[in-house]
Symmetry: C2
Subunit: 593 residues, 2 copies
Amino acid sequence: MDKPLKDGRDGPAKANGARFPARYLPILDWGRSYGRETLTNDLTAAVIVTIMLIPQSLAYALLAGLPPEAGLYASIAPLVAYAVFGTSRALAVGPVAVVSLMTAAAVGGLDLASPVEYAAAAAVLALLSGLFLIAMGALRLGFVANFLSHPVISGFITASGLIIAASQLKHILGIPASGHNLYEILISLFENIGAVNWITLAIGASATAFLFWVRRGLKPALSKFGVKPRMADFLAKAGPVAAVAITTLIAWGFDLPSAGVAVVGEVPQGLPPLAFPAFDIGLWSELAGAAVLISIIGFVESVSVAQTLAAKRRQRIVPDQELIGLGAANVASSVTGGYPVTGGFARSVVNFDAGAETPAAGAYTAVGIAVATFALTPLLFFLPKATLAATIIVAVLSLVDFSVLKRSYGYSKADFAAVAATVLITLGFGVEIGVSSGVALSIALFLLKTSRPHIAEVGLVPGTEHFRNIRRHEVETNPRIVTLRVDESLYFANARFLEDYIYDRVARDKGVEHVILMCSAVNEIDGSALESLEAINERLNRMGVTLHLSEVKGPVMDRLKRSHFLDDLTGSVFLSQYRAVKTLSEVSADRIA
Amino acid sequence: MDKPLKDGRDGPAKANGARFPARYLPILDWGRSYGRETLTNDLTAAVIVTIMLIPQSLAYALLAGLPPEAGLYASIAPLVAYAVFGTSRALAVGPVAVVSLMTAAAVGGLDLASPVEYAAAAAVLALLSGLFLIAMGALRLGFVANFLSHPVISGFITASGLIIAASQLKHILGIPASGHNLYEILISLFENIGAVNWITLAIGASATAFLFWVRRGLKPALSKFGVKPRMADFLAKAGPVAAVAITTLIAWGFDLPSAGVAVVGEVPQGLPPLAFPAFDIGLWSELAGAAVLISIIGFVESVSVAQTLAAKRRQRIVPDQELIGLGAANVASSVTGGYPVTGGFARSVVNFDAGAETPAAGAYTAVGIAVATFALTPLLFFLPKATLAATIIVAVLSLVDFSVLKRSYGYSKADFAAVAATVLITLGFGVEIGVSSGVALSIALFLLKTSRPHIAEVGLVPGTEHFRNIRRHEVETNPRIVTLRVDESLYFANARFLEDYIYDRVARDKGVEHVILMCSAVNEIDGSALESLEAINERLNRMGVTLHLSEVKGPVMDRLKRSHFLDDLTGSVFLSQYRAVKTLSEVSADRIA
C-alpha cells in the first residue's frame, strides 16, 4: 500500500516557470503585449508619482544626511533598472524614510570629514546592498527575509518613524542636533533649545499643520465643494508640492536666509554624474554589515507592499526576482550619485491607484524626475529645510502604530516580547541594534518554546477512534498503558527534556507496563533525539516497561528505518494509536477501563 | 466535556523536590546516612583516582600553558567545593583535556608578557566561568546546554583531541612550536623540525608506546599470568605513574637536562596560595566570551558523564544544581592558584568502577593530591615534559572518533553538516570558533527545515477514520475538497511558505471548493502565521473557496479564540478530520469518490 517516495518534501509547483532569459528579464514578458491603453495609464500614474516624489526625494536625502540632489539622482536610474528587472507591476522604487534613516546611521557612524566622502560612502552602501540583493536573488535565498517576523517589522517601523520625526525637529526649530537614537536626539535638541530660530519655527510649524490638514481634512472639504473624488485625491497628493512652492516663494520674497532660515541652497543642474564607487577595503568592510541589514529591511518592506498590490489584481510577484530587481536598482543608484533605495509603501499605493499597469510607469517617472533636475533645481535655492522636514514628519507619523503592541499582547506573549524589545531597543540604541535584537529575540523565543515542548497524556474519546488530552477531555485510559503525545518535532534542543519527562512519569506510577509515544505531531527526529530515544528504550527496558511508537509520519519512519533503533525497540510501531491501545490491552489481557 | 485549563503546558513533576537549604547543599542529603562501609568504598576509590590524577593534572597544566603546580592546585579545592555542592555521586572533578586546551586558546590569545600574568589570567577565567555557571544554576538555565547538539559535541571533542595531540608533539620532539589550530601547529612543527632533540624523542616515543601498550595489551597479559581482573585493572590505571617514575629516574641518573631534555623543574612545595584574582575590567571583558564557552562545554561534558553513571545505579542528578556545583569548583580553583575545571570523563568512570558512593570520594582525592604537593613535588624536578606529553596524547586519542561522521551521514544530512563543519572549523580555526560555528549551524539548519515544512495532501484510508498522504498510500479523495496536513508549527519563518503553497495548489485546480488545513501536527500558530491565515482566508474567499481547519490542538485553539480569526473564517473548525470530510461531502451533496 505504501508508495515509495524518493523525496519526502512535496514542494509546491514552481511559482515562476519562465525560462532564461525571461526568468531574469521580466520586461520581455510584459513588454511584448505593451499597447496604447497601457501606455496612457502608465503615463498618468507616472505624472502623479513624479509630483509626489520630487519633495519626498529632496526630504529623504536630507534625512540621510546627503545633499538634496542625491535624492533626485536616487529617483532616476534606479527606477529604470527596476523597470527592467522587477516583477511587480505597481511598485514605485526610490528613496524611502526607513532606509534613509539607516543610511544616516551607517554612514554617520563613520565619522567622515567632508560631505564628498559622506556621499561616496552612501554610494558604496548602495553598491554593497545592491550586490548583496542580487546574490541573494541568484541563490534564491529570498526566504531568509521570512525570519523577520511581522511583529518585529511593525515594531521596527514604528520606532523608526518616531526617531525620524524626532530627528527632523531640528530643522523645524532651526537648531543643530544630532544622534542616532531617540535619547541622543532629544538630549541634543534640549541642549540647543535656546537657539530656536522663530521664523524657521513659524514656517516649519505651519507647513506641518498644513500637510496634516491636507492629509485629513482636504479631501472631505473638496468633496463638499463638488470636486470629483479622483481629482480630490490628486490634489491631496499634491499638498507637499504646494507647501514647497508657497514656502519657497515666502523665503525668496522676504529674503529669509539672511534672517537665519536654513534653505536648500545651490543644487547642481543636470543629469546625475556617472561614477563607480572607488574600492576601499576598509570602508567596504565597515559598511558591509549595514548594507546587509538595509538590503533585508528594504526587501521586506518592498516585497510586502508589492505582494499586497499584486494580490488585488490577481497577479503574482516572484520574490527571488524582486531581489534582483531591487539589487539592480541599488547598483544603478550607486553609480549615479544616489544612495540605497527600495520600494516605497505610500508611493506604490499611489502608483497603483493612479492606474499603473506595468513597471514602465516607473521608467516614465524617472524621465519626469530627470526633467525636474534640469528645470526645477534653480528654483529650489530658497526652499526652506523646515518645509522638507514637515513633509517627512507628516509622512512617517502615519507609519507609527502602537496597536501592534496591544494586539500581540492579547494573542502571544512571545510576539509581544519581540515587538516590545524591537521598539525599545530601536528607540534607545538605534536602528541597526534594534532590528538585529528583534530578529535574534524572536528566533530565540521560538527555539526556547520548541526546547520545552507541550507533552500531553492522552486517552480514548469514548465511541470514537480519537485520542485527546486527559486533562482537557473525559477519556478512557488503561492504568497499564501510558500514551504521551509529544507536540513538537524531536531535535537536539528538546531531546533531554523528553527523556526527563518520561522517566518522571514512569517513576511516579509503578503500574505502568507500556509507554506509547504518539508521534502524530512529530515532524522530525534528528540524530540527538534518536540517541535519546535509544536511551529511553534501554532504561525503560531495565525498569520492565516496553516502549512503543504510534502514528509515525512517513518521512520520519523512512529515516528511523535507516538506524538501528527499530531493531532495538522493545515494543512495536503502530500505524494508528487506536490499534496500539487495542492490541496492547488484549495482550495484557485487560480491557480498557 | 472540555475542562478549562489555565496553563496549556503540562510540565513534568519537579525533578528535585528538596527545599532550601538542601536544594543548594546536596551534602546535607547524602551526609546524613554516611556510614563506615561507604567510607571504605569512597576511600578506595579516592586512592585509585589520586594515583591517576597526579600525572594527569601535571600534564593538563602543561597543555593549558601553565606551570605544573597549577594542575595540582586545580585538583584540591575544586574537588572539595564540588563535594559540597554537586549532585553526582561519581563525578571526578579537576583539570580536563578540552577545557585545558580552551584555556590555552583564551589566555594564549591575550599576548601576555610574563608567566605570572598568564597564571593570573587563567585564574580570572576560572572565576568568570564559575560565576557564570552559578548564575545559570540559580536561574535554572541548565537547559541552554541542550542547544549543543550531540553531533556538534562529538565533532568538537574529536577535533579538539587531534589539536591537543598535535600540540603535544613539540614536547615529544623537543622543539618549540605554537598555534591554536591544527594548521598553525603543524606549520610551526615543520619549521622547527631540524632542531629535534633525539634523546627527548627517544623518551617521548617510548613513553607513548609504553602507555598505548598499557592501555591495550597490559590487562590481557596480566590475566594470562593469573592476576585477578580488579588488580589488573588497577595496574593498568597506574601505567602513567610508572612511566613518570621510570623516565624521571632515567633523567636524573643520566643528568638529561644537561643534554637539552626539557624537564618539569622546580615545583613549589606546599598547599596552594590563597588569592582572589585582581579586578581588571579590560582583562575580564576580554575573557568573558571564552569563559561562557568554557562553562557550557565543561558543563555539557560533565553532565553527560554524570547522567550516564547515575543511570547505572538508578540515581538522578539535578542539572541545575550541577551548574552550581561546577561553578563552586571553578570559583574555588580561581582563588587557589588553579584554572578552569570540570568533571572528567575517564576519571569519573574510574571513580565509579572503583566503588565511589558519594561526592566525599572527591574530597578524599583532594586530600591525596594535597599530600602529594607536600611530599612529591621535589621528586618531580627531573620529570621529562615528553612523558607528560605522552600521557596526554594517549588519553586524548581515545576521544577521537570519526565514526559519528559516518553514522550521521546515514541518518541525517543536517546532523552530518553540523558535525563536519564543527570538525573542520575547529581544526582549521581553533576551538572557540569551531564550537560556536557548530552551534550556530545546527540551529540555522533546524530553522531552515522548519521554515520550509513538509506539507502533505491527505486522503481517507478506506474502512478507517484515518487520513494519510495521497502520494504514499492508496486513499479516497474528493475532487471538491483538498486537505493539506502541515507537518510543522506555523510561525513567522514559514507563514509565507504556507501562503504560497496553498495559492499554488488551489490555482492549479479549478474544481476545488473547500480547503481543509489538518492541524494535527501544528503545535503553535504565532502572530505572523495568524496574519497569514487571515490573508489566506480572505483570498480563498475571493476565489470562491472556503477554508476549514481540523484537529486543532487544545493550546492552539485556546489562542485562536483570543483573536478575530475564527469570526472571519469562511468555513468551520472540525474536531476530527473524518467529521470534516463527512460533513463537507454531504453539504456538497457529493459522495466520497
